[in-house]
């Protein structure tokens, strides 16, 4: 099953290179739907399985596996794959972009399934190359080149700390297999050093505030699909790394660095929310707001309770649905009018009713309105932080207030008011665009009203959250 999952995006890569242009769109779409159904069935049969297709010299076996945590990330990835394929349906260089996209998705699925730290690092880095191409080649302005470099170098510099840590682990433990490493332990000093090295690379990806500079740039300059992938999945790689590596491998260091995490996360939440209020570029608004959301996830992840952990996962998934939807909305406006400056848009409710409804809904979902998926996650996170430390909960709940402010402000500027005098012709959503947005809307509402759908495999969130929980009880004793 997993090998099929790994092969299908690669197959779409190859078909893009080989097939004649006539059938390329339909074939790519069909192949992109394949991993989604596979991962859905993986979720339904709900198995913790791993296979060993190849052996790797000096590194031990190269193992793949899916558990209850990574299956959600894979599901999100494979859901966004057909959506991005649909988004570029009418693009003139469909084949090239679809090739790059399939490459990105195959690397992502390999990343989420690998159980070896070496390959974890390898795929974490490999993602940069196709994303560099995507931002640099298909971005809108000349500034895209600087943005592509920034994106590449920030992540690369961060991840070299991870490389040092990786080599250190390989040197001391003689293996990089995660399942073996979970059962071994490090000395406290080692843990403190290694945790920080991994943190340095993951915090660029999350991103936390001093290292967030690449994110708005990359988002603004990337094409719509680039933003969708960035916000939908690439921001989650850091969170996934924390879940996979930092929490279970270095529990003591996690507790040791707790004040650092909380301080940085709260500063990032408040700073990014305040910055969002002053932006006039539509994409930058959403980019900065996603910084706030991801740092909120960080708080939930490090609250050391099952609610907080589940809440973090929930926000990851809900943000993975909502922010791509918002980026798609902005991309639609950009496709029609070729500007992202807020001041040019006003009163679109009159001429684009479907778009306005959609935008209204996604803005509400972005601010965590009850009934949407994000509300569930934010509620869980806040309640778990409250039981951990009420003061931090108070500070972090300011994010709810601020996100309401900027979301409603953006909505108000774009949708309401008198019709803008700068734009002349208006087209509402086409069927393709409407169905993409409606799919996301449906999923957000579905999980918002029936969060039990998401929580039913929670019994097997076991290993990692248990390890994290046991570490906190140990230190309390």
């Amino acid at each position: 099953m997993i090998s099929l999952l790994l092969i299908s995006p690669l197959a779409s890569c190859i078909t893009n290179a080989i097939l004649p242009k006539k059938y390329i769109r339909e074939t790519t779409l069909a192949l992109s739907l394949l991993p989604f159904f596979i991962s859905l069935s993986l979720l339904l049969i709900h198995c913790n399985q791993s296979i060993t297709p190849m052996s790797y010299f000096l590194m031990g076996e190269w193992e793949f596996g899916v558990d209850a945590i990574s299956v959600w990330f894979i599901l999100l990835t494979s859901l966004l794959f057909p959506i991005t394929i649909l988004l570029i349906w009418r693009h003139e260089s469909f084949t090239n972009i679809a090739f790059i996209l399939s490459l990105i998705y195959s690397i992502l699925i390999l990343f989420f399934t690998t159980l070896n730290l070496f390959f974890f690092f390898l795929f974490y880095e490999s993602l940069l190359v196709p994303m560099f191409f995507l931002i640099g080649t298909y971005g809108s302005r000349l500034r895209r080149i600087g943005a592509a470099y920034k994106f590449f170098l920030y992540t690369f510099i961060g991840s070299f700390f991870m490389l040092v840590a990786l080599i250190y682990i390989f040197y001391t433990k003689a293996t990089l297999n995660l399942e073996v490493l979970y059962r071994s332990s490090f000395t406290p000093n080692e843990e403190i050093f290694l945790w920080f090295a991994f943190f340095a690379s993951f915090c660029v990806k999350v991103p936390v505030v001093p290292f967030h500079v690449w994110l708005p740039e990359a988002h603004v300059e990337a094409p719509t699909i680039g933003s969708v992938i960035l916000a939908g999945i690439l921001l989650k790689l850091g969170i996934y790394g924390f879940i996979r590596i930092s929490l279970p491998l270095f529990p003591l260091a996690t507790v040791y660095y707790l004040p650092l995490i909380y301080t940085i996360a709260i500063i990032s939440i408040i700073y990014s929310s305040l910055v969002t209020l002053r932006q006039i570029d539509l994409k930058k608004i959403i980019a900065y707001s996603s910084i706030g959301h991801m740092n909120f996830v960080l708080l939930g992840l490090f609250s050391f309770s099952l609610q907080g952990f589940l809440g973090a996962l929930t926000v990851v998934l809900s943000h993975g649905l909502i922010s791509p939807a918002l980026f798609i909305c902005v991309g639609l406006l950009y496709d029609r009018h070729h500007t992202r400056i807020l001041y040019y848009y006003r009163g679109l409710a009159v001429v684009m009713p479907f778009f306005s409804c959609m935008f209204f809904f996604f803005s509400l979902a972005n601010l965590g309105f009850p009934g949407t998926f994000s509300f569930v996650g934010e509620f869980l996170i806040l309640s778990s932080i409250w039981s951990f430390n009420p003061f931090i909960a108070l500070l972090s709940s300011s994010s709810l207030f601020l996100s309401t402010l900027y979301s409603l402000w953006l909505l108000n500027r774009i949708v309401f008011g008198s019709l803008t005098p700068y734009l002349s012709s208006f087209n509402d959503l086409s069927f393709r665009e409407f169905s993409i947005l409606f799919l996301l809307l449906f999923l957000i509402l579905l999980f918002g009203f029936l969060p039990s759908l998401f929580f039913f495999p929670s019994s097997s969130f076991s290993l990692i959250s248990n390890l994290a929980l046991s570490s906190i009880t140990q230190t309390n004793i």
Partner: protein
């Protein structure tokens, strides 16, 4: 036997190349490859069956009266790899060189034989003669295609190279004064004996400096960028690839022979010079506009990295395996890079790059694979080599050095990405119209495009299944012990 077949093939080439009208170059080359293959199959049968330890096993040492020839027990894998690269090189670059000047073929084969004799020498005098032989042929090769830059470059190379030869002779004479022998085995074993004077170290240091000059390690690197820029492109590739093939094994051989005194005296020098060339190569390549200069400086920095590994390798076979993993992938990747650049005649970061990339998209993607592997960016096998080098440095305690290596490779990534930026980030529609007529763009010939296919697929596949690479490099590494 081996030597005889070698000389036989050498004379065959000479005779045929005097009469170019009779036979085409490909037939000469086929004869050449056949004779070389014959000689190496003899070598294989004689050497690889017996487990032997250099230097005391003379496999097929042919002693004449005054000189001592010695089949340097380098692995047949290494020779095969060398031949492979040579054949790729020959078929993909040389037609353009030879078509304009027919004596190039003779010079290139003479260069090749110089290399073989260098690898076979076991004696400082033979070593010096073949060193100068290589230098002379490469000097003649460099001035074959004359333009103002070429004359300056090759003259500079000539002067520097003969100066370094003089330094080598000085070193040898110091060694000879103290040991009264010019044989490698005798002199190197003499150094560990108690009556050896400190001056003998100076002699060996001078000998090592000559080798560093050939490898363009930092204080002796001034000729390299000028020479690379001045001469025609295929010869740039020749001069940047082939000296590495000869002189790294020689350095490894010498340092293994000096193993008693090496750690205390020479390893610091090696590490320092390697570090300096890494530093200077990386920073000088950073802002280059001309691709040849950029490649020259990146060659310097890569040589520095390899030299750092040799300075810290401490006679461990594992370190040598790591060395050859990096070495082989580096040579393959740089061959791929040169192959692409030569065939589209790309010399600057200008609008020709995006034009080539839009006309030959698939080829330029494969070029990007070679380039990213060269830069050590993860999905390609250059990263595996770099990972193991860092692993070796950290595990043997050179943590600060490892951090510097990481920092420099981070900086170097910027200028490798610049290639991709120039190639792919400009849409073909915005190019000037004078370029879009493809009059001066020739389709690459079959050997060169196939060599890019082979190399880039190897660079990609070896990351995920590197057993073949590890097999080759461990065989080569163990052949030195």
């Amino acid at each position: 036997m081996f030597l005889h077949s070698l000389t036989l093939s050498f004379f065959t080439i000479c005779v045929f190349s005097i009469f170019p009208q009779i036979l085409s170059t490909n037939i000469i080359f086929a004869l050449f490859v056949f004779s070389i293959a014959l000689s190496f199959s003899l070598l294989l049968f004689s050497s690889s069956l017996s487990v032997s330890f250099f230097p005391f096993s003379s496999l097929s040492s042919l002693s004449s009266n005054s000189f001592e020839f010695f089949v340097f027990d380098i692995s047949s894998y290494y020779i095969c790899f060398f031949l492979f690269i040579f054949i790729l090189f020959y078929f993909s670059y040389l037609p353009s060189v030879i078509s304009s000047n027919y004596s190039a073929i003779l010079l290139i084969f003479l260069y090749f034989f110089g290399i073989i004799f260098l690898l076979l020498s076991n004696d400082f005098l033979v070593f010096y003669i073949s060193l100068e032989f290589v230098a002379l042929t490469s000097y003649l090769l460099a001035i074959l295609h004359q333009n103002p830059f070429t004359i300056e470059a090759s003259l500079k190379y000539f002067i520097y190279s003969f100066l370094s030869g003089a330094i080598f002779l000085l070193g040898v004479s110091i060694v000879y004064f103290h040991t009264s022998s010019i044989s490698f085995v005798t002199t190197f074993s003499f150094i560990s004996s108690p009556e050896s004077s400190p001056f003998i170290y100076l002699g060996f240091l001078l000998i090592f400096f000559t080798l560093f000059f050939k490898l363009s390690i930092v204080p002796f690197h001034f000729w390299a960028p000028d020479l690379y820029e001045g001469i025609i492109y295929p010869l740039t590739a020749l001069f940047s690839l082939f000296p590495k093939f000869i002189f790294y094994p020689v350095i490894i051989k010498f340092s293994l022979l000096l193993s008693d005194s090496f750690p205390t005296t020479f390893s610091g020098v090696f590490t320092l010079l390697g570090f300096l060339s890494l530093l200077l190569g990386t920073f000088s390549a950073y802002n280059q506009f001309f691709l040849k200069r950029l490649l020259a400086y990146s060659t310097i920095s890569n040589s520095g990295l390899l030299l750092i590994l040799l300075g810290t390798f401490n006679f461990s076979p594992i370190a040598l395996i790591i060395f050859f993993i990096y070495f082989l992938t580096y040579l393959l990747a740089s061959h791929g890079i040169f192959n692409f650049l030569i065939h589209f005649n790309l010399t600057k970061f200008n609008s020709r790059l995006p034009f080539v990339a839009s006309s030959y998209f698939f080829m330029s993607m494969l070029f990007a694979v070679c380039l990213l592997s060269y830069a050590g960016i993860p999905p390609f096998v250059g990263f595996v080599g770099k990972f193991f080098i860092l692993f070796w440095l950290i595990s043997s305690g050179y943590i600060l050095l490892a951090i510097f290596v990481i920092l420099y490779s981070l900086i170097s990534i910027v200028y490798y990405l610049k290639f991709l930026h120039f190639m792919l980030f400009t849409p073909p529609s915005s190019l000037p119209s004078s370029l879009t007529s493809s009059q001066d763009l020739t389709t690459p010939n079959y050997p060169s495009s196939w060599s890019i296919y082979i190399i880039s697929s190897a660079l990609l596949i070896w990351t995920f299944n590197p057993s073949f690479l590890f097999l080759i490099s461990s065989n080569i590494a163990y052949s030195f012990f």
